[in-house]
Every structure is written in C-alpha cells, then in structure tokens.
C-alpha cells in the first residue's frame, strides 16, 4: 500500500469527505475520536503493521501516524 492509498483508507475510516493532509494536527480534526482510532488500527492491520491504541494516542498529527505506519512523510 502506498502512502496515498494509506491516507485514502484513513480518510474512509475517519469518515471524512475530504482528503487528509500529512501536516494536519489530529486535534483539529473534529471526527478524530475513539471510533476513528479503532478504524485507524484496522488500517494498520491491513498493511501488517499492527500497533496498539496506546501508541496511537501518542500521535499528534497525521504525519506521526504515517511514520508509525512506516511511511517517510
């Protein structure tokens, strides 16, 4: 899965009707809540990069999530 594809899946799971930007802060995304976090975990599972909720909670931006998923951005 490419970074673009990962971001698209993330967008679906967070249930946003607009693309996600790597520079976005999670606290600025109204839809970023526990359901969105669960969805994000499942996207990680899809790429075989399982993480736990505690690790996801450490992320403050989309860029942090991308890094946890092994993307450079």
């Amino acid at each position: 899965m490419t970074q673009e594809e990962f971001l698209l899946r993330l967008q679906e799971e967070v249930q946003l009707d607009r693309p996600l930007n790597p520079d976005e802060m999670l606290c600025d995304i109204q839809e970023w809540d526990s359901l969105a976090m669960l969805g994000t975990l499942s996207v990680f599972d899809e790429i075989g990069a399982s993480i736990e909720i505690d690790e996801l909670e450490e992320c403050v931006s989309i860029k942090d999530i991308l890094q946890k998923a092994g993307f450079e951005s």
Binding site: Q15, L38, S42, D45, E52, D54
Partner: protein
Amino acid sequence: MSRISFKDIAITAITTTLGSNIIALEDEKERFGFDDEGFARLQRSIGLQTRYVADQGVCTSDLCVQSAQDIFNNTSTKKEEIDALLFVTQSPDYKAPSSAIIMQERLGLPKTCAAFDINLGCSGFVYGLFTAFSYVNSGMKKVLLCVGDVNSYFAGERDRIFTPLMGDAGSAIIIERKEGAKSFFSLYSDGSGYKHLIIPSGGARNPTTQESLIQKLREDGGIRRDEDLFMDGKEVFNFAIKTVPPLLHEIVEFAGMNNEDINYFVLHQANPYILKTIATRLKVPKEKVPLQTAQVYGNQNAASIPGTINGFLHEEFSTKKLTLAVAGFGIGLSWGGAVLETDAIYAPKSKLYTKEPL
C-alpha cells in the same frame, strides 16, 4: 491455569432463547441522545442494527429455563440424567440464593442434582463449559450449563456508551460422555483491570445509597447510576485485541492443530469491530469468524457464543461433525479459550421467549 484437555466428553445440545422485543437502534436515537450525524457515524463504524430485549420482569433464568425445556422436549436427554446445573450470569433472580437452585425445581430436575451460579460475563461460556467438562470427567453423567443475561438488570437505560450494544439471551447446553471427542481448554484472569468493566455500587464494598441510585451524566457522555455497569471501551478493546489472538494461537497449537483444521472460530460477540480486528490478526478467512450476532441480536454476554451457533450456524451444527475454537473475554478481566469437537448435535435456530411453556 495450566492447559487442560479432556477425552470422550462433548456438547450434545445447544439452545438459545432471545428477549422477545426486537428494537431497532434507529428508534432509540433519542433515548440515548444521538444526533443524526453521530448516529450515522456509529452505524457506519459498528453497524449495529437491532437488539433483542426481554420484557420488564423477565429474568435470565426464565430465558434459560425455556432453552433447557426445549432440549428436554426434543432430545433423548432425561431430566433424571442431569447431575449438575450450572448457571453463568450477572443477572440472577435474587442476590441470594443461587438462581440455579430455583431452576432445579422449576425444571423438575432431581434433588440429587448439584446446582449453583457462577458470576461471570463475556468469558462465562468458556469458564462454565470447562467446569461442566470437569464434572463429567469426574463421573457425572450429564451437566446442564445455562448461560446468559438480561441486561436491563445492570445496563443504564440511557447509557449511550454501553446499552445500545446489548441484547438479552439465555442459552442451555448439555455436556456428556461422547466417545472419541477431544477438547482443550485454557483460562486466564487479570484482576488489575477490574475497574474497566464494573458495577461500582450495590455490593458490600460500596453499598447502595441514595446517591448511588441517581442517574448522572458521566465524562464519557453516558448517563448512568453507580449501580449500572461502567465500561471503559478503549481499555476493553485494547485488552481484547491484545489477548484474544494469542489465546487462540495457543489453544489451537495445544490441540495439535492449525487454523486450517478449525471449521469455525466462534468468539464472544462484543461488537463486529473488535471481531473484525481479531480476525485480521488471526489471519484466518473472515467466513470462519462469524461476527454479525451483536449487529442483529445485541451483545448477549455469556450467551453470545451459543447465541451465535443458534443464530447463524444452526444448520451446520445440526448436520455436521465440526471442530471449533471458542474464546470468551471480558469482565474481570477474564478470558478463556477452547478447541472442541462436536458431532451433529441438537442446535435449533434461536427462539423468542414466550411466556407459555413450549
């Protein structure tokens, strides 16, 4: 616990009785205070549709008595063959005595039948099954295991965090000698997480007070009393996805099998989201992991594994020899897994509760 295996013991009947009110979550939006957008998001994420809820005044024991009577009416099992009745529930008829003892009399079981309750929730089917297998292994002829809950006993009526997930059901299971059948069990508990799923008040530690009976808006957005069940969803999800995949790997390996040998992984039906995540981590085909029970019936607590068999796999279980892996996980925290072999058994489609005897 060390891993335990049994030979020549098996389940021969499973029945489930459902609360008779079928409630669409859509119709409960207002009660739980969901706005349209929030509700649509919840439905897209978790996919909850309906839940089966018992009438006010109907107890879990009523559902289980109907399930057990169904078995006595439709199989060769005789009441006088039952040496023990185990009732796994968190919603007993009374604080004391054990409801199982009252059920002994209601079902017309012999006085030689041992009867008692086991206080467990979502892990309770596996714990109860292990106890029943142990009793048959020690010489009892047949054990009647009853499991389930009527959630209004402890679910806040306006708690949007917990209550929309829950459904009412009571199952009955017969465990007896069956030549050639093998089974494997592994049970765990971790009391350090007891606060993640708890009814804080109403017991000896925090007795009932006027304060504990007041409905309050809580930090998580749920409205409940201190005598209603609190669930920390994040912690419970974390616990489930961390413990259940390794548990299933362990038990399948202990059975000397691999995932291909297992026809179905029937897991506690917490919600489809948790099950989807566990299935992905198990790396087994999704069709081997039924996950729709909570969407259709609601989370049936200790009855959710038998409830899934009677709800969605009844034809398979009624006609085929199967190898299944089961896992329960939840309040305590406690969790347990088993690999079981069943021949074609009595496993009819789940039935609605009816006040009239079957």
